[in-house]
């Protein structure tokens, strides 16, 4: 018994289909509670007024936008080292989800930035690196679409993901050097544990963050299942054609 038994598509599908209903329910409950609680159950901020409430959407999606890339990085490494197809397909399945999360984070950030900073967009390090991350997602997805042979596509995109990660980190620091930004630092530093957000805002935010994490997991499992079935259907079709 080890984690690697789920490299078998059948075992993976069985487990993921058992887990998925629970995941979907918990994720929905968390997201809906977090957002509703955040939007209606918390007071307005002293200076930011009601615009502060976009944080319950902005922070969790931004968090998942980065974590989705990390997940793709790990999945790509597993594919390159152990060549489990499920892993490659999971990376493929996660990319569009990450892309959408990045887009939501960018758009909600712009909507918040307009009244608060007086601008929709500023070439701030965080904003810029998110835009670059968005382009990386686009390139990754485009490469998956462009290569016909699925194994070659998995290989090439995995290497792109690895190299892209290095350059994404490099860009992050380069951009910081290039322009000192407008974006505030994090209010919830994980390392020091000294958060500057009051409990009133923190608990709905935490709920929303957990909800989006689970939602991401559910979406990726669902999409990976779809990809596995698509691959299976393709294999069957190829066999039929060979017989004819």
């Amino acid at each position: 018994m080890s984690i690697w038994q789920y490299a078998n598509p059948v075992k993976f599908l069985t487990l993921s289909e058992k887990v998925q209903p629970i995941l979907w329910v918990v994720a929905t409950v968390c997201v809906v509670t977090g957002l509703l609680w955040g939007f209606f159950g918390t007071p307005d901020d002293f200076r930011q007024g009601s615009t502060v409430k976009i944080i319950y959407l902005h922070v969790p999606t931004a968090l998942m936008a980065i974590n989705a890339w990390f997940m793709m990085l790990v999945a790509s490494l597993i594919w390159l080292i152990r060549r489990h197809h499920v892993s490659a397909l999971a990376a493929k399945a996660a990319a569009p989800v990450g892309l959408v999360m990045t887009l939501i984070a960018l758009v909600t950030g712009a909507i918040w930035g307009q009244p608060m900073w007086g601008t929709w967009w500023a070439w701030d390090p965080r904003l810029t690196s998110f835009l670059i991350l968005f382009i990386f997602y686009l390139g990754y997805i485009a490469l998956w679409e462009a290569v016909e042979d699925p194994d070659t596509a998995a290989d090439l995109t995995s290497v792109l993901c690895l190299v892209g990660s290095v350059f994404a980190v490099l860009s992050r620091y380069a951009v910081q050097f290039w322009n000192q930004g407008l974006h505030q630092g994090t209010s919830i530093p994980v390392a020091t544990g000294e958060r500057t957000v009051s409990d009133v805002f923190w608990y709905p935010l935490l709920t929303s963050m957990i909800g989006f994490g689970l939602l991401f997991l559910a979406l990726v499992l669902y999409r990976t299942g779809t990809e596995i079935r698509l691959r299976r259907a393709q294999a069957l079709r190829n066999r039929m054609e060979r017989r004819l």
């Binding site: 670059i132 382009i135 990386f136 686009l138 390139g139 485009a142 490469l143 462009a146 290569v147 070659t152 290989d155 090439l156 290497v159 792109l160 690895l162 190299v163 892209g164 350059f167 994404a168 490099l170 860009s171 380069a174 951009v175 050097f177 290039w178």
Partner: protein, 218 residues
């Protein structure tokens, strides 16, 4: 290795090799910029380092899809794959040939175009130094992009989408060094970062490119 380098250089210099195309593109981009932003010397002088860097980068990008695609079509790549020469070395040589035929002419032409862009007099030296330091990285990263898209039909646009985000750090530090030089500020920090990126990519990217080529040609 030297034979391969000579072959690549000869191919690009001879008719239809595309040598000079990158230069012409660089010239056109820099000529078009004053048309689009207006001919005021003060404004042009401010944006000159950035525009020249961007032009050089785009000119590099333009010639990338020829880098491996032609060799893929006539089967040279398959020969290189089975040759006793390690593929990593072959890829490095290809990147070197690309730099000699695209990057180096761009570096040499940049000061001339700097005159067109009314670059401040202090900027020329730093522009040339930053381009000379940065363009090798562009060639090496570009080779990786070309290797990724080598088997794909009409991969040119995809190549730009993949390569441009990888160019971001190089562009930032390169243009920053040129800008600081033109403004008469200290340039050592961005130049050191740029040199670091170039050396790092030269050392590591050939392995990624070769790995990707092996996967793509399997």
């Amino acid at each position: 290795m030297i034979a391969l380098l000579r072959r690549d250089l000869q191919l690009s210099f001879r008719a239809g090799g595309g040598f000079g195309l990158g230069l012409a593109f660089f010239l056109i981009v820099t000529t078009l910029v004053p048309f689009s932003v207006g001919p005021e010397a003060a404004l042009l002088g401010v944006i000159a380092p950035g525009v020249l860097w961007l032009g050089a980068l785009l000119a590099c990008l333009l010639s990338l899809d020829r880098l491996l695609a032609l060799d893929y079509e006539d089967g040279t790549l398959d020969l290189l794959l089975t040759a006793p020469l390690p593929l990593e070395a072959a890829v490095s040589i290809k990147a070197l040939a690309h730099w000699l035929t695209t990057g180096l002419p761009l570096v040499l032409a940049a000061p001339v175009l700097g005159v067109l862009m009314s670059l401040p007099p202090t900027g020329y030296l730093w522009l040339v130094i930053s381009l000379a330091l940065g363009t090798p990285a562009l060639s090496v990263i570009g080779t990786f992009g070309a290797a990724l898209t080598v088997g794909i039909k009409r991969g040119g646009l995809l190549l730009s989408l993949l390569v441009l985000p990888l160019y971001v750090p190089t562009l930032i530090f390169g243009a920053e060094a040129a800008r600081r030089g033109a403004a008469g500020l200290d340039t050592s920090t961005p130049l050191l970062m740029l040199a670091g990126i170039t050396l790092g990519t030269i050392a590591l990217m050939p392995f990624a490119s070769a790995a990707v080529l092996r996967m793509g040609l399997r």
